[in-house]
């Protein structure tokens, strides 16, 4: 009970600290702008964008499922990286361990989005004859599912890629079946994530 209280206190304290960052940066932006220091105002705004990316990332992590199939999430590995750069915000969560570890990543401004969207929009390109690639729908969103089979171990790994605007969601699951993969993918709340990141 005492431990839970401490964790709750730490989370609340960190949330307040982050809100303070945003409030401090917006105050800096306002005062710099009104005093004509445009570059300082611009810098404060860049910081605000970072604050917002981090806030968005944390909210998305809260939405992601705690379990994928039988595997529990490793909350210690939850990560949000905000870049005021080309890559945009990167959100990461993983499940399980060892050779049965699933990875779920969201990458803002992903350079892969354009090519995946092209594949999704051309019907005969999306589905390969050998069954290694197919287009599926997850919560109504078009997604690309890829299968790879290890020659020696015959282990089947799957990768699911869902473009959401300029963000790419990638879910990789080794040693699983297509049915299980689709079932797990459908537990990802794509609509809510879309609403939050756009």
């Amino acid at each position: 009970m005492k431990k839970i209280s401490i964790i709750c206190f730490i989370i609340a304290a960190s949330t307040i600290a982050r809100a303070q960052d945003f409030n401090k940066n917006i105050a800096d932006a306002r005062s710099s702008y009104s005093s004509g220091n445009l570059e300082a105002a611009r810098f404060a705004m860049q910081q605000m964008l970072t604050d917002l990316d981090m806030a968005i990332g944390r909210e998305v992590l809260k939405m992601l499922p705690e379990k994928m199939g039988a595997l529990a999430s490793n909350s210690a590995n939850d990560n949000v990286t905000s870049n005021t750069g080309l890559a945009g915000v990167i959100i990461h969560r993983d499940y399980g361990a060892g050779n049965k570890a699933y990875n779920l990543d969201l990458m803002g401004n992903s350079p892969l989005v354009a090519s995946i969207n092209a594949i999704l929009s051309i019907p005969f390109m999306g589905n390969s004859g050998d069954g290694t690639q197919k287009i599926i729908r997850v919560e109504g969103y078009k997604a690309m599912l890829q299968k790879s089979v290890d020659e020696t171990t015959k282990q089947t790994d799957y990768t699911l890629q869902v473009p959401i605007g300029s963000t790419l969601l990638t879910f990789t699951a080794p040693n699983t079946t297509e049915e299980e993969m689709v079932k797990m993918a459908n537990t990802i709340p794509l609509s809510r994530i879309t609403k939050m990141i756009q």
Binding site: R42, A55, T84
Partner: protein, 269 residues
Amino acid sequence: MKMKIVLACLVTALFAFQADGQGFVNKLKQKADEAASKALEKKAKEKVGINDDDNNQTPDASGSPSENASQNRNRPTNKGGGGLVATPPDVNQNLSDAETSYKAGSYGEARYAVQQAMLGVEMQIGQKVLESMPASVSGLDKVGEADQVTSSGYGWAGLTIHREYLKGDKQLTTTVANNSAMMTAVNMYLANGGYAQTTNGEQNWKQTKVKGHKAIIEYDDSSGYKLTVPLGQTSLIMWEGVNFTSEQDIMAAANSFDIDGIKKMLGEK
């Protein structure tokens, strides 16, 4: 035998009639299509207020109106609409919107408002940089309508400021780029300058200094001179001179710019 001949004649007549009949039906269909498209065309013209007087004067060789001509007549051409008002976003208003959205937990909306505010600030920075540039350089006057400030409001994609000077066939183009991806290439040039200069057979570029700032000058017979000065960590200023007589000529033009002032305005150290 007689019977066979009669049968053959009958079959031939039947086919002939059928073929003729099909041709007749096709012609009828074609006429009906033409009439329908004419009627639609007329209705459309009445709606947009186009005079139909010259409609019957442009038949093609077959006597029916030219298809291309009728398609072109259906598409009105724009005669001007005043364009878009180039008003930069209201910075204070967008900051207030960002604060409200943030408090309401609408982070996506808050992000959009901050980007708009940033766009507004960047446009103002750009205008200030343009104001600091000379009105004429080496006898060339600025081309006012070519002044341009481009910003994406993302912070990383860059703020670009553009000015042109022109007299006769001599032209100077100035570009200031902030948070520019071009910086990587320029810094690579400067870092590996010694090596490239010794291996280059023909001297098309070299390192130099403009008002104490390290720079790269390039020359190409078709495009002329290009002088690039990195400003601080993420910005650069670049001059492109067409029909400049010599290296000294373009260097003198670059020296008439307040490089330190521009660097300061961009917040570079």
